[in-house]
């Protein structure tokens, strides 16, 4: 069913991004928003806006019923969930479809399957994709868990089956710590996710985070190469690049082929990302999890492939077959994204909501700033601190780094503190410049460079 009228059930920069893509496809755009976002950029840009509730997310962006009412009131025939909120909620997908609307994303069953991180490991293994060594399924008894970790060797990760996106994970470095953390992990998973299931994985401390972007139409699947997102703070990505310069060509081909076979095995529909850990010394990669939605860092892939991923996902949702063949997708140049958050890096990354006084976006060749900002806009305290994503493209990584430094200099924002100084310090760092990083790199780096981040 072709989409004529699209309701965006999200906020911030991604709501702006989706409104733009939908309008280019000739769709009427409607933004469902909380009371705190009535003056947001997405609301200003959309054809129509509909308030769905008070500021707290449980009463607005997580309120499926209110969103469906908004869709009905405005005559929408499809809902794009963006990322976060209800994007990976299978019950929401079923409710959207039961209301006779199109959900822009995969089938509910796919979301449920890949959302269970243990089931997803099983799907990967069945598709011949290497997974990190660990428990074959949920592990309940402390005795069985202890036998397993004795075989795996420390350190190990204890992960919540219903977790994902960096939530519900603990590291145990020895047996004593494991015995203490294992029961806690189960109880906390139950409280946080309503599912106390946990599993155990070998922890690979100096690995890189690489992830493959895929697009599928339920039958055919293509990959759009990989991103590297090793610079993380508290398991949240801070800086992302495409492609991953550490990957030899042969490994890149294997990695992308594995991602495609996994996605094909679940007859994937829409845009998705398969996350892997890459160990440079052994040139091996292991599947971590799949995200069944558009991701924050999708623009770096768009820059190096020339594909508009949000447009493609809207066309697929409208029932069109995938129009890209693998041979059409080339990798060109290098892209870097810096997440500009309303956080004060000089003060422990304390969130910093408020009113933006002056704002000037960087511009010029190869620069893209996906943002919710405009001069005078309010940054509410209720939501994620992401203000915008500064993305640069250039022919080589070295020139992209110089371009990022230039763009960061141009970015002018007063009224709220942001992570701009962090990115300036990172862009100037020798290890970052030589791409000599891993997932455990940033946190100790922040300790050492605290003085530079003011």
């Amino acid at each position: 069913m072709a989409i004529h009228s699209l309701l965006v059930a999200n906020r911030g920069e991604i709501a702006v991004r989706i409104v733009r893509a939908a309008r280019e496809l000739g769709m009427r755009t409607i933004v469902a928003h909380s009371r705190a976002d009535a003056d947001s950029l997405a609301v200003r840009l959309a054809d129509r806006a509909e308030e769905i509730g008070p500021p707290p997310t449980s009463k607005s962006y997580l309120n499926a019923e209110a969103i469906l009412v908004a869709a009905e009131n405005t005559g929408a025939d499809a809902i794009h969930p963006g990322y976060g909120f209800l994007a990976e909620n299978a019950d929401f997908v079923r409710a959207v479809e039961a209301a006779g609307l199109v959900f822009v994303g995969p089938e509910a069953a796919t979301i449920r399957l890949m959302g269970d991180k243990i089931a997803a490991r099983g799907v990967a293994a069945k598709a011949g994709v290497p997974t990190v060594a660990g428990s074959p399924g949920r592990i309940d008894s402390p005795a069985a868990a202890r036998t397993l970790v004795a075989r795996l060797g420390f350190p190990v990760l204890i992960k919540a089956a219903a977790g994902g996106g960096g939530r519900g994970i603990r590291v145990a470095h020895d047996e004593t710590e494991f015995d203490r953390l294992f029961p806690q992990a189960g109880m906390e998973a139950l409280a946080a996710f309503g599912d106390g299931g946990v599993y155990v994985e070998k922890f690979i401390p100096r690995a890189r985070h690489v992830e493959v972007q895929i697009l599928g139409d339920g039958e055919h699947v293509v990959h759009c190469y990989e991103r590297e997102c090793s610079l993380q703070r508290r398991r949240q990505k801070v800086w992302e690049e495409a492609p991953a310069v550490s990957l030899p060509g042969k490994v890149r081909r294997e990695l992308c082929a594995c991602a495609v076979s996994l996605a094909r095995s679940v007859r994937y529909r829409g845009a998705g990302t398969l996350e892997f850990l890459y160990d440079e010394d052994s040139e091996t990669f292991h599947f971590l999890e799949m995200n069944t939605r558009i991701q924050v860092e999708h623009p770096v892939t768009e820059c190096v492939t020339g594909i508009d991923l949000v447009r493609e996902m809207l066309m697929i949702a409208g029932g069109e077959p995938l129009r890209l063949r693998q041979d059409d997708i080339d990798l060109n140049g290098h892209a870097i994204e810096c997440r500009i958050n309303a956080e004060d890096p000089a003060n422990g990354f304390l969130p910093n909501p408020g009113v933006v006084e002056a704002f000037m976006a960087p511009g010029g060749p190869g620069v893209r700033f996906d943002t919710m900002l405009y001069p005078g806009c309010t940054i509410p305290p209720f939501y994620d601190s992401l203000l915008g994503k500064l993305v640069v493209w250039d022919q080589s990584r070295a020139s992209a780094l110089r371009r990022m430094e230039r763009a960061l200099t141009e970015l002018d924002l007063t009224g709220v503190k942001t992570t701009k100084p962090l990115h300036q310090a990172l862009a100037a760092d020798r290890d970052v410049r030589s791409a000599n990083v891993h997932t455990g790199f940033l946190e100790p780096w922040l300790e050492r460079h605290r003085a530079k981040l003011g």
């Binding site: 705190a36 008070p54 500021p55 707290p56 449980s58 009463k59 409280a191 946080a192 309303a342 956080e343 969130p351 909501p353 305290p381 209720f382 939501y383 994620d384 601190s385």
Partner: protein
């Protein structure tokens, strides 16, 4: 007896429990000691504990669970 207000240190969303399904930190009528946690404020997805800076008895919560608050807003009243 004096009435003391506990103020929100930050803007955000106020929670009376550590997690859904858990009992509230403090019921109305419960005794409170200095530094007891009486709730959480969620600011941009990070959670901050709200502590009592004097001892007493909770007479009333002025804000419901999961309600939006501004910095400095009174959250609860103590008799101390």
């Amino acid at each position: 007896m004096t009435t003391i207000q506990i103020l929100s240190p930050l803007p955000g969303v106020f929670y009376r429990r550590s997690a859904p399904g858990q009992p509230p930190y403090k019921e109305e009528g419960a005794p409170v000691a200095v530094d007891d946690v009486i709730g959480l404020v969620e600011l941009m997805k990070s959670f901050h504990e709200v502590k009592a800076d004097s001892a007493g008895t909770v007479t009333k919560f002025l804000v419901d669970n999961e309600e939006a608050v501004v910095a400095g807003q009174p959250l609860a009243e103590l008799d101390g």
